[in-house]
């Protein structure tokens, strides 16, 4: 019993060790996790390694490798072995299997028997060994062992290892495997025709004088070559019966070939969207895109355009293919066809981790609420900006978890009403708000090392710079400057029209009114400290 006790103790130690799980996670990231940033580098390295060893194999046929070649081969095999073992290790957690059995036994007060538990754990590992890719890995290693040198042709299996490291090849295989039924049907049909034709030609030709067909293998070879329309012509029928069979076989062969082509074409036709989407997913991963725009209607288009002009990266999701096509044509736009309600899609775009900002801008409030709610549930930290098309839905969106709502109709109402009341003032505000005039309101952050820290606004000649200090936004915690009139701004203080005596502090946001060039120049001066 003491051995089983020791095993259990070891298992618990592994369970509790953060170092063990950390190392395992790191290995998982390296080998399996498609999201891990290191994964592409590892894949490229392995592809190069495989290609090098295969090249050595080709070179070796006619030349002597020498010590360097042998050394490379040994290193490569070493890496392959380590990789195989690591994959074997991370496939599952044996200690968890054993512990589960143990705890179950404890729970129902039965004596714990180690051996069934161990064999169960081993069975789990065995499942890894018989996976096709694992077998390929093994076959790529085994022939390097001297006594098994005759299996050298299996070294070609190293090429199959490339499946692991390249997404496009594995996508190809996946597409074909989805057409399994059609391919099997085709194969059976082909085998039937080949066998019939081979038997017939053998029957008529094999016993002929100076026949090229000496055995059944020859006739099968001939049948396949003819059917595939390759037609080498090294074996040709001599009798009339044989030629008639050839004619029939050629016509049947045309059918088989066109059937095969159509299967492949239709498979890719159906899958092309998914493959394109995958491309975009990997691009999203690579570019570390953190903004997702759901809905490419008018509002979505305006936002996307402005963001592209800012060189911010984002991805658009829209169910209408036409919209996505328009979006893709514009520079800096990434777009996927899909429903925002499709949680799977949002997850594969990384809404739970990578995406930090979600814009729900569809014209349908139901959809916006749904997306907002779903996103908030999978990611409590994400910033969600939602469009509410009706006033009464604003509160629903906030309850669903939106950080900010924009209401096109309300904004319109506000602006239209303002226009009715004060048309002149309105024009000014409208220009400021829509960014259509060059004159605008801009904020300048007062940095730690800035020359203005601790100085009053009087020390800057704003008039000469054609700027008007509109206000200062300050984090609440500093208790100073309370004598100036200020307003609450969600945890910050906003000082409107700060007087000349106002003393700036670091991290203040100085809000300026003025021409964009003036503001840019002011920022530049601040940066260089030449005020």
């Amino acid at each position: 019993m003491s051995f089983s006790r020791r095993v259990i103790k070891q298992c618990y130690a592994m369970q509790g060790s953060s170092r063990y799980t950390g190392v395992k996670q790191a290995v998982y990231n390296l080998l399996e996790n498609p999201q891990a940033p290191i994964r592409p580098y590892f894949d490229i390295f392995m592809i190069l390694l495989v290609l090098t060893t295969v090249w050595l194999l080709i070179y070796e046929v006619k030349n002597d490798l020498g010590t360097v070649g042998d050394l490379i081969e040994m290193v490569a095999v070493g890496i392959f072995i380590v990789e195989y073992l690591l994959r074997f290790w991370i496939f599952n957690d044996s200690h968890k299997v054993i512990l589960e059995r143990y705890e179950r036994a404890e729970f129902i007060n039965q004596p714990f028997d180690l051996w069934p538990a161990l064999s169960h754990a081993l069975l789990g590992k065995l499942k890894y060994v018989i996976r096709p890719l694992a077998i390929i890995d093994l076959l790529a290693i085994i022939p390097s062992y001297r006594p098994l040198r005759f299996l050298r042709i299996f070294l070609l299996f190293r090429l199959f290892k490339l499946f692991r490291y390249t997404r496009s090849i594995s996508e190809f295989v996946k597409v074909l495997s989805e057409k399994r039924i059609e391919l099997v049907t085709l194969f059976i049909f082909m085998a039937f025709i080949t066998f019939t034709a081979a038997t017939a030609i053998f029957f008529f030709e094999a016993d002929q004088q100076d026949s090229q067909i000496t055995g059944f293998f020859d006739s099968v070879y001939w049948a396949l070559v003819t059917m595939s329309t390759v037609g080498y012509g090294d074996i040709t029928p001599n009798t009339t019966e044989g030629r008639v069979i050839t004619l029939v076989l050629i016509i049947a062969g045309l059918g088989v070939i066109s059937f095969f082509t159509s299967i492949i074409v239709s498979a890719f036709g159906e899958k092309i969207h998914e493959i394109r989407a995958h491309r975009i997913y990997s691009e999203i991963e690579r570019k570390r895109i953190d903004t997702l725009i759901c809905g490419y209607g008018r509002v979505g288009q305006v936002v996307a355009e402005r963001m592209a002009a800012d060189r911010r990266s984002f991805v658009v999701v829209d169910p209408v293919e036409e919209n996505v096509r328009i979006a893709k044509k514009k520079p800096g736009h990434l777009a996927v066809v899909g429903d925002g309600e499709d949680t799977e899609l949002l997850l594969s775009l990384g809404i739970d981790k990578r995406i930090q900002r979600l814009l729900c801008l569809t014209g349908d409030d139901v959809v916006n609420v749904y997306i907002t709610l779903t996103a908030r549930q999978v990611n409590p930290d994400i910033e969600i900006i939602s469009r509410a098309n009706h006033r009464e839905n604003v509160s629903k969106l906030y309850r669903a978890g939106a950080s900010y709502c924009v209401t096109p109709y309300e904004v319109f109402g506000l602006i239209a009403a303002e226009y009715a009341g004060q048309p002149v003032a309105f024009e000014a505000v409208y220009g400021l708000l829509t960014g259509q005039s060059h004159e605008g309101i801009e904020a300048v952050r007062i940095k730690d090392e800035c020359v203005l820290v601790g100085r009053s606004l009087e020390s800057v000649d704003f008039t000469r710079r054609k700027l008007t200090p509109f206000g200062v936004i300050r984090e609440r915690d500093s208790g100073s400057a309370e004598e100036h009139a200020n307003y609450d701004l969600q945890g910050r203080r906003f000082f409107f029209n700060p007087g000349k005596s106002f003393i700036l502090e670091k991290d203040d946001l100085l809000v300026l009114l003025g021409h964009e060039y003036s503001v840019v120049h002011f920022r530049d001066c601040l940066e260089r400290g030449t005020l």
Binding site: R298, V299, G413, L414
Partner: protein, 242 residues
């Protein structure tokens, strides 16, 4: 029905929204539409709405266009209706203020060509706001809670002909030190509708009929308005701002 100088055409969500916002500012409106159901829904809510066939010029004249109506809002949900109404109304009254909604830059241009005074694109503005929210979150928060909120207002003040400010230079007024206000600029209707920004470097000579655009707390604005009305303002002798 009493004669109101503001009419809204189109009783959809947009029309209701504008009517509500105007009501908050004390402007009473009638809503018109050619859709019976929409009008019925508004009447049930207690709003003043009526059915009118806007394609008929006589009907438009009957409800006051070309006679006493000063401004109309074209807020139908389809562009052709807005365009048609804009054209008809402009033909009836050359001075009418026509504010129309548009859905794209192209349709905005068409509406302007048809004679609209102002075209507002709600989607453009919303899109801009979302973008601003992303690009400059603090600023948007400030503008939302000040300009659109309760604290700070934007106002226009017309300078009367007999005012003492008449003839003073804008930069010499020194209003900033007398009032807690920021002067954004001035519109001189003789020079056009363009706003001359106070910080543009060109000092503007004020005269009667000019409109000052200021931002500030409501109380300060009414104080300035009172001062202008009572003509108690004296242009400062020294040049105000350093």
């Amino acid at each position: 029905m009493s004669r109101l100088d503001t009419l809204i055409f189109g009783c959809g969500a947009l029309g209701q929204e504008v009517a509500m916002q105007l009501a908050e500012r004390g402007i009473e409106v009638y809503l018109y539409s050619d859709d019976l159901d929409e009008v019925g829904a508004l009447l049930a809510k207690g709003m003043q709405a009526a059915v009118v066939d806007f394609k008929n010029d006589d009907k438009l004249r009957d409800i006051g266009i070309g006679r006493w109506v000063k401004r109309i809002f074209c807020l139908f949900s389809d562009e052709p209706s807005n365009l048609f109404l804009t054209l008809s109304a402009r033909a009836l009254d050359a001075d009418l203020k026509i504010i129309a909604v548009c859905e794209s830059a192209a349709s905005g241009q068409r509406l302007m060509a048809a004679g609209a005074t102002k075209v507002i694109d709600p989607y453009e503005i919303s899109g801009h706001r979302v973008h601003e929210r992303i690009a400059r979150p603090y600023l948007v928060e400030m503008l939302e809670s000040s300009l659109f909120g309760k604290h700070i207002d934007i106002a226009e003040i017309e300078i009367p002909d007999h005012s003492r400010l008449n003839g003073a230079m804008l930069n010499d007024l020194g209003l900033g030190s007398l009032f807690n206000l920021i002067i954004i600029g001035v519109v001189d209707l003789e020079l056009g509708r363009e706003l001359i920004f106070a910080n543009s470097g060109i000092s503007h000579r004020l005269d009667g009929g000019d409109i000052l655009v200021v931002i500030g707390p409501e109380a300060e604005i009414s104080r300035l308005k009172r001062a202008v009305a009572e003509n108690s303002l004296e242009p400062a002798s020294d040049s105000g701002d350093p």
